[in-house]
Symmetry: C2
Subunit: 208 residues, 2 copies
């Protein structure tokens, strides 16, 4: 049985739970309270010295980094194309997500929605500028295709959906981005899609 260390508010954790749901792989969730230091305890740092969720335990094999977990679980499934170029294209978007999207779209959401920082904070305005550039690039890309890679739903879509569909919580506007909105609807319409836990207010499973 897989065990996922996760947090209710994390889009990075949600990515993994969404893929596990779609792969119909059973798992146990251990919810950790980030704001209360539960990812910085000696016991958790022994599992993941970087002190972050999500962290997956597959028996003795402990794997952090949400997008590495997606690749690990999706290998040899329809969610990660097998062809060399398509697989590289998926990785391109996974690295884009972690470098150009998450630090701006997700971090600003966290600062505004969870930590109560002021919207006119210069650091927030700077990150929003970069986040809007990432969203513009996604809008252009999706203007001519249904999904990020190879006209097929993949973990590239899962990774980018996680924080894009709650981007409004970080002060981002999607009204003028119709291609992203249509893509969000297509992703939400996939078989065995689940809502982000933070949205529905209750964990899908799990123990403490």
């Amino acid at each position: 049985m897989l065990t996922l260390y996760d947090n209710h508010l994390s889009g990075n954790g949600y990515k993994v739970r969404l893929l596990l749901s779609q792969l119909e792989i059973p798992f146990t969730v251990i919810w950790l309270d980030i704001l209360n230091g539960e990812t910085r305890t000696p016991a958790f740092l022994k599992l993941n010295p970087n002190g972050r969720i999500p962290t997956l335990a597959d028996g003795d094999f402990i794997l952090p980094e949400s997008n590495a977990i997606l690749c690990y679980l999706a290998e040899n499934t329809p969610y990660l194309p097998a062809g060399q170029q398509e697989k590289a294209r998926v990785l391109q978007w996974l690295f884009f997500e972690q470098y150009s999207h998450e630090p701006n779209v997700a971090t600003v959401r966290h600062w505004l929605a969870h930590l109560g920082r002021r919207p006119d904070d210069p650091q927030i305005l700077e990150r929003q500028k970069a986040g809007n550039a990432a969203l513009d690039l996604m809008e252009d890309h999706l203007g001519s295709r249904p999904y990020f890679v190879g006209d097929r739903y993949s973990i590239a879509d899962i990774a980018l959906y996680a924080y894009t569909h709650v981007a409004h919580e970080g002060g981002y506007r999607l009204e003028n981005r119709p291609a992203i909105r249509a893509w969000l609807a297509r992703v939400a319409d996939q078989p065995r899609h689940i809502a982000m836990v933070g949205d529905c207010g209750s964990p899908i499973s799990g123990s403490r």
Copy 2:
């Protein structure tokens, strides 16, 4: 023939040139001046809408994101392990590099060494704190193993070497990190290792 769009000062570009050298794959370099806007021209944005180097052209297949390029080139070579868990472990460190290391270690180096920002700039001090945490985690990990994954040199080492070996240019100290220093020496001692272009002052090949 592969074509690599690159910049002399970029560690992200250096990663790709180092792997290509070690794989003995011939390639052409097109050097672009980032500070002079050459990655923001209409022609380059048509190749890579994100306007960043490195970008690899393998015929008509255009691939940005340095770590996605490493995976693309290393697949089915000794530089990327084939086993599911070891491959996931390599990806874990590649995502760690782009999320926890590069934005702090590389960006501070760029601000200090190339843009002439002041070392006491609060934004620099904040990033150095995160960069030092990343270096501490690497030091702990390397304290008991020769390379990042599976006791063997891989693209995880290449990705992390690129900016770690010039971390001093960003105000980081390696004197108290003996495991990192021993690992840097092991990496530099690999067959067909090349120096970063910025270090030796001349491109290894290339045209404009």
